[in-house]
């Protein structure tokens, strides 16, 4: 708040935060897609009628992906605004 960051600092900070967000979301993607599926037989408890891992592959996984991609778009818009990176429509 005290001093405004220079444009160069702003850009550096913006890119670092972008990378951090991307890596974090990719980690979730990886856990849901591969780690949870690897242990599919161990996650066999009943979940509203489904065996949990079946539900995860058929409904849960895709649902997580939609939310993840939506969250990314929302978070990046905020990041753009915070670091003066809004895309101007020409």
């Amino acid at each position: 708040m005290s001093s405004k960051p220079t444009p160069a600092e702003n850009r550096r900070l913006y890119w670092r935060k972008t990378l951090r967000l991307t890596a974090g979301l990719l980690l979730i993607w990886f856990l849901v897609s591969f780690v949870a599926t690897y242990f599919a037989r161990d996650l066999n408890f009943t979940f509203f009628g489904w065996p949990f891992s079946f539900w995860l592959g058929a409904q849960g996984g895709p649902l997580v992906y939609v939310l993840l991609v939506g969250f990314y778009a929302w978070a990046m818009n905020r990041l753009d605004a915070a670091h003066d990176q809004d895309d101007v429509v020409d």
Partner: protein, 705 residues
């Protein structure tokens, strides 16, 4: 900060953008309403006695005519309009168009069928084909939009410099898209010939006409607006029968929420069927048939001689005894249907033995629907190995489909058409949402059809089977056939052969809906195949006209000339693809999946490193693309039966870690990354321009001109 958001000039553009979007909303609202009215009118006409063939015809010509009309209205020769639809497609509409572009005949017709036949293993397709969009969103779409040219090879050419990366990109894009488009045109032929009963080849060319009018006249602009219209047809056609089936079975109109309970019932019924005495009887009959064939296969030549002698002796005996004409002609038929040569006999018998082996297993060879992976981790060593390989292949397939999704040029190209980086990110969300609507319904469809088959069909007397069974049996026995193997007059599960492609097309009939819904479903399948074919053909033609002709051969070519060349090429590629599809190439599902593996290993490492690693050099990227593609292709050729035949590979199949050829990309992608990283380190760093380009794509903010 807030005040800075709207820069001078930005406000006006935003206003015109939102006016454009409102106009679109109005048009597509009317369109959807008119489409519903059209279906209702046809339903009323059907009740009044309109014949089924007419319904098929009306659906075929009305939908293709509609797509053509949109194509004609959107015709253009302006380069930005032709290549990227003027870059003003709102995020939601681009999402719908991407959904239609993405969902091919394989998704629409094949996915639920695959899930029906393979249960849990089929979920690799669901995970793979949706999870890939996370990679598109996080790693590619916004950056490619900021780069903002016309094609994917464009990016490779600019980022890595020189013609080689661009040319490699063009070749890979053409290879991948061509393989994929052949499969789509094949699907078009299949659906049109079913829907209206024309010959397969004629069906192909009818569909081709529809494809061409859209993409030929108006390029990306026409294709985008047609694809939005097609998405609406696709999703309506997919959801109606499933919702109906769900209401019929559970009373709840949201199949995606309630089918878990149906799955429980299916699992219970599976246990019952596995030990049902009648089923065991049928399985026993198939087991002894298999044994008989195994005997014959030990010495096919002798067995064939023996069969021939027996048939001839029987015919002679019948003639001697003055037997009835029917008996005589039956005996003659037996004799004439014997294989001609020992080699022919061997292949026929092996095929029949494989079928009998499947049918001597519980549940007609289908794994229990909810069982994760085959084999058993606590069983004997063989069962343990089956389990490990099954699980490894599931993960490998999901990986290839995900990375392949994020590397298919015709999908990535769609994110050039939105107005801004922000819109590109939002558009991926919409794309995935619209795709998700269909993909999280497909598993429900499969389970509900299985429930219907297990509880309604199985155990029904043969003379009381529903009419659709006989009807499909007549259309194509490879899709559905029933035979009373144990002669007890009742249908057992193992007495029915069912092809995956029938599941979606027959759902309306299985649910007991009027024929008009079957027509609607076929129209949906057609829309899925056509929209994907449109996008793919455009990708090929643009790669050739823009990247090869304009960027490499004649950089001074006028826009009109480039667009004309693109149109001519489009026509030629479309005809070539139709020609290949008319030859009915063997394995369609394999072709589609191969396209994913090849795209993944060719594009993904070069694109991602190009954006996220400034040090990646041009020569490294070229080598990485070549190595990735080469190893994927090599693995497929040496392990996939159909390709082995084509390339004459005779040495025994050697699977690496038991990975199936469908997932060959699992070797190509890591190799591509490794080669690019290693070679980049030992080659001189790229120059300033590349650094500036990478900086440029990383930050959404545009420099004021």
């Amino acid at each position: 900060m807030k005040g800075l958001k709207k820069r001078p000039g930005a406000g006006g553009a935003t206003a015109s953008e939102s006016a454009f979007k409102q106009q679109l909303n109005k048009v597509y609202r009317w369109y959807t309403l008119a489409f519903f009215m059209f279906v209702v009118v046809l339903a009323v006409l059907e009740q009044a006695g309109l014949p089924r063939e007419w319904i098929g015809f009306i659906f075929l010509f009305a939908t293709i005519g509609l797509y053509a009309a949109i194509g004609i209205m959107s015709r253009t020769t302006d380069a930005t309009e032709y290549y990227v639809a003027g870059r003003r497609v709102p995020a939601v509409y681009n999402g719908m168009a991407t959904g239609a572009d993405w969902m091919s005949a394989a998704s629409f017709i094949g996915l639920a069928g695959t899930l029906y036949l393979t249960g849990y293993s089929g979920l690799a397709f669901i995970l793979g084909w949706t999870g890939g969009y996370c990679l598109v969103a996080l790693l590619l779409a916004p950056y490619l939009r900021k780069f903002g040219q016309f094609t994917i090879p464009d990016f490779l050419g600019e980022r890595y410099g020189g013609h080689l990366p661009r040319l490699l990109g063009v070749m890979a894009a053409i290879l991948v898209s061509f393989i994929y488009v052949v499969a789509q045109i094949y699907g078009v032929g299949l659906i049109t010939s079913r829907l209206v009963g024309v010959a397969f080849e004629l069906g192909i060319f009818l569909g081709l006409g529809g494809i061409l009018v859209c993409s030929f006249l108006g390029g990306m602009r026409a294709v985008t607006w047609t694809q939005v219209a097609q998405y609406i047809v696709i999703i309506v056609a997919y959801l109606i029968p499933v919702v109906w089936l769900s209401v019929k079975q559970t009373g709840v109109p949201v199949p995606q929420v309630v089918y878990g309970y149906q799955l429980e019932k299916v699992t219970a019924k599976e246990k019952e069927l596995a030990s049902d005495p009648k089923e065991l009887e049928v399985r026993q009959i198939f087991a002894s048939l298999s044994q008989e064939l195994a005997e014959k296969l030990k010495d096919p030549a002798a067995a064939l001689m023996n069969d021939k002698a027996k048939a001839e002796a029987r015919l002679a005996a019948l003639r001697q005894a003055d037997a009835s004409f029917a008996d005589l002609s039956a005996a003659e038929k037996t004799l004439s249907s014997l294989p001609r040569t020992a080699t022919a006999a061997e292949s026929t018998w092996s095929r029949r033995k494989a079928a009998a082996d499947t049918k001597s297993q519980p549940l007609n060879g289908m794994p229990p629907h909810a069982a994760q992976f085959a084999g058993d981790p606590d069983g004997d060593p063989e069962a343990q190995q089956t389990y490990d390989e099954s699980r490894r292949n599931f993960l490998a397939l999901a990986f290839c489909l995900m990375v392949g999704t994020a590397a298919l040029p015709h999908i990535l190209m769609r994110y050039y058409t939105v107005p801004s980086v922000k819109a590109a990110r939002e558009s991926v969300t919409w794309s995935l949402f619209f795709i998700f609507l269909l993909y999280f319904t497909a598993p429900a469809l499969a389970v509900m059809v299985k429930f219907e088959v297990f509880n309604v069909l199985i155990g029904t007397p043969f003379d009381q089977l529903p009419a659709w069974v006989a009807a499909w049996n007549k259309v194509d026995p490879s899709l559905l056939s029933v035979t009373d193997v144990n002669q007890d007059g009742l249908l057992q599960l193992n007495e029915m052969s069912i092809g995956g492609d029938i599941i979606v097309l027959a759902t309306a009939e299985i649910a007991g809906l009027p024929y008009v819904i079957s027509g609607l479903v076929a129209a949906g399948g057609l829309a899925a195949a056509l929209s994907t074919a449109d996008g793919l053909l455009l990708t090929i033609a643009n790669a050739l006209s823009h990247d090869v002709y304009y960027k490499m051969i004649d950089p001074n070519a006028s826009t009109a000339r480039r667009v004309t060349i693109s149109k001519v090429l489009l026509l030629m590629v479309a005809l070539a693809a139709a020609y290949v599809a008319a030859q009915k190439p063997a394995d369609i599902l394999f072709l589609v999946s191969a396209a994913f593996s090849l795209a993944a290993s060719a594009f993904f490492p070069a694109l991602v490193l190009g954006i996220f690693w400034k040090r990646a050099t041009g020569i490294a990227a070229s080598l990485g693309m070549i190595c990735g593609l080469a190893i994927t292709f090599y693995y497929m050729v040496t392990t996939q039966p159909w390709l082995r035949d084509i390339f004459g590979v005779t040495r025994p199949v050697e699977l690496w870690w038991g990975i199936q050829p469908i997932s060959a990309g699992v070797f190509g992608v890591p190799l591509g990354f490794a080669v690019i990283v290693l070679i980049s380190w030992i080659t001189p760093a790229p120059g300033r321009e590349v650094e500036e380009l990478v900086e440029h794509v990383r930050y959404p903010r545009r420099q004021r001109v």
